[in-house]
């Protein structure tokens, strides 16, 4: 009997996977463990292997389609065995089922024609009399936008008619009406954005500019894949975590000396060039050891005090941001860190990171030092407590021993979750980090 091939759920947050390529064609023989197709999850690309032996009987989805997890996307079975023509529905097997189904509907082009039905369904949830429903149906109104005057807010026929009357009156502000008259614009073609669809001055002007730039319509790109994953996570972080950001200027004179001295050594040993990132990582891990609360995670209302320092490294890739994790940084030397950060960075850019390499970080460093950025306020990578933003090193005049001198300065900024820690311990951490970076030889002790 033919076996279903499901879209795998590869992380707790994964809801959909994007089909990148089929590695088998219908009719091809398949062995257990042989890659069937490649998908992109919320952050990685991964080849999905077959759990069954037989022939690939049916492929239900095309490349670039987004498919909810646990959806049947193919069948593997005996040669010429019969399987459904259409992808079976209702395969959701976990609590994310509802969301999956919704996204499946959104992505299924066939469902678009059913928009009317959706409107009706939405209308059914409104308390409304049959008569008002009829008026709404006949005039393509949404009952949800009509205020009901009946018992418990029930929408009655008169309410629907009054709404319709208002709609018909083409509500428009006097100024918008005047502008429209001056410019000879037909207000019927202008979509109102004000209360009850009232046409405002902005609507009329917007209409004018949209007409004049009708041929230069902006490109619209659907928020999906990695971009959506980043968007969701950042929104969640910004909305749910009370961020406070502290900044400090760091004199990098000695750090530069250290790098200069160690660069040939590390390069000879590893084949990779030591960068400031590794020095900052080393210093950060060292200081985090003295400030365990900054290295904590907030999970289900519990502060988890992480025993090891796993540093997330924010890496910019095409269409998004990936944070591979370097584990046990406190126990690693600069050579190891150089190898790890370079190889993880490359894998990130090539979409080759494994899920394990992307999880488990306890503190993240976001380095924008390669750009003309002095300082910024990074957004915490949940469930971590804090994130360090690193700006460029630039020579600035500073006062040292009563003299103004030029020093290579770098701004570090620490955004922290005020639910977990307060300003003073966060400031103490940043202060110590500044001191450590300004006196990096201490790291050798």
């Amino acid at each position: 009997m033919a076996k279903e091939v499901f879209m795998p759920k590869l992380s707790s947050t994964m809801e959909v996977g994007t089909l990148l390529q089929w590695l088998k064609e219908e009719g091809d023989s398949v062995e257990i463990g042989e890659p069937l197709f490649e998908i992109m999850t919320d952050k990685i690309n991964i080849e999905v292997e077959s759990y069954e032996e037989g022939f690939l009987l049916k492929k239900y989805y095309q490349v670039d389609e987004e498919i909810p997890v646990n959806t049947v996307i193919a069948y593997v079975g005996e040669e010429n065995e019969e399987v459904p023509e259409e992808a079976p529905e209702g395969q959701d097997q976990d609590d994310s089922g509802t969301a999956n189904k919704e996204s499946a509907e959104e992505n299924d082009p066939v469902k678009v024609e059913e928009e009317e039905v959706t409107t009706t369904t939405a209308n059914e949830k409104v308390r409304a009399t049959p008569a008002s429903r009829r008026v709404a149906r006949e005039n393509n109104l949404s009952l949800k936008s009509i205020e009901g005057s009946g018992p418990k807010g029930r929408v009655q026929e008169a309410d629907a008619l009054a709404f319709l009357d208002l709609k018909d009156k083409n509500l428009v502000t006097p100024l918008a009406e005047k502008i429209a008259a001056d410019k000879g614009i037909n207000l019927d073609q202008v979509q109102g954005s004000g209360s009850r669809g009232k046409i405002t001055k902005e609507d009329v002007l917007g209409h004018v500019s949209s007409e004049s730039t009708a041929d230069e319509k902006p490109e619209r790109i659907k928020l999906k894949g990695l971009r959506k994953a980043v968007a969701d996570k950042m929104l969640e972080s910004a909305q749910s975590i009370p961020h406070v950001t502290l900044t400090s200027d760091v004199d990098m004179t000695k750090a530069i000396e250290v790098r200069k001295s160690l660069l040939p050594v590390v390069e000879e040993q590893t084949g990779y060039r030591l960068s400031y990132t590794e020095i900052i990582m080393k210093a950060t891990a060292h200081v985090l050891g003295n400030h365990p609360t900054v290295n904590a995670s907030l999970v289900d209302n519990e502060i988890v005090m992480n025993k090891s320092v796993n540093l997330g490294l924010a890496v910019a890739v095409e269409n998004g941001l990936i944070v591979p994790s370097v584990p046990n940084v406190q126990a690693k030397g600069l050579a190891d860190l150089t190898v790890l950060s370079k190889t993880l960075g490359m894998k990130a850019r090539d979409n080759k990171l494994t899920p394990a390499e992307m999880t488990g970080s306890t503190f993240t460093i976001s380095n924008l030092g390669m750009y003309a950025i002095d300082g910024f306020t990074p957004i915490i990578n949940p469930p971590e407590t804090a994130i360090l933003g690193v700006g460029r090193i630039i020579e600035k005049p500073v006062v040292v021993d009563d003299s103004v001198v030029v020093r290579p300065m770098m701004v570090v900024s620490l955004s922290f979750d005020h639910r977990v820690i307060d300003g003073a311990p966060a400031a103490a951490f940043l202060t110590e980090l500044k001191e450590r970076l300004e006196n990096p030889y201490g790291l050798l002790v």
């Binding site: 009399t129 008569a131 026929e157």
Partner: protein, 327 residues
Amino acid sequence: MREITYLEAVREAMSQEMRENDDVFILGEDIGVYGGAFGVTRGMIEEFGPERVRNTPISESGIAGAAVGSALTGMRPILELQFSDFITIAMDQLVNQAAKIRYMYGGKGKVPMVLRTPSGSGTGAAAQHSQSLEAWVAHVPGLKVVQPSTAYDVKGLLKAAMDDDNPVVFYEHKLLYKTKSDVPEEPYSIPLGKADIKREGTDVTIVATAIMVHRALEAAEVLEKDGISVEVIDPRTLVPLDEETIVKSVSKTGRVVVVHEAVKRGGYGGEIASMIAESEAFDYLDAPIKRLGGASSPIPYNPELEKSHVPQVEDIVKAVKETLNKA
């Protein structure tokens, strides 16, 4: 046109029919010299004689059985039960015999009988003499059910009932016997299954039966003063029911109150309400269908309690206002 009472209209309809058709006769308890429990048949024995105005023993089952039997032989009996409550005793003859025979014999036997009986409360006749059990009868296929509310309707509907080749249960309301209206002297017929719009209106439809028609009309007067325009529909016959007139009216007004005297629970109002909900009027409903009926208890003897048992004008006014969300 002359005015006569509802009671006189019943008598006149029967008398005119009996003069026209020798097959028509009436039977019942004390309908002869005594003239019936409410005096409806008073004087008829003098004109038509004891052969055609037949007193019977006190046995409603026997009266009904005799009517069914004589109808089957080609006569057209009109039987009178003194109180509609006693129909329960005649139920087997009515439900199991009269209603079924034409069907069971493939149309070869017919039962052209009319069972006349006074129903309703308001006379202080207590629990066993005041009920409105028309829904019981309306439930049975094969029986037609008439509930006239005016003298004019009573004469025309009784003529139609007497002309019908099927058993018809003809409910006369006790309190309406003395009410008067314009009634033509000559015989006329009002088809069974034709409702009457007793009052035209635009805001709400009241479907009312029997005495409730009058209370609905009074309520409409009261409501008019508040600017509420009420349409009053009197179905006149429950079976067959003039669905079209009701649906049309409700589609126009968007609101409906169904009023009857019978106990609301299981009453015929539920049938009317369901019919409306199933009909094309549904899409025009602008408020839930409201039913007013009697309380779920035996009719009390105490006049005040009896009054509170069944819908009164003020109850109808209140119900209409509620359905208009103006209570």
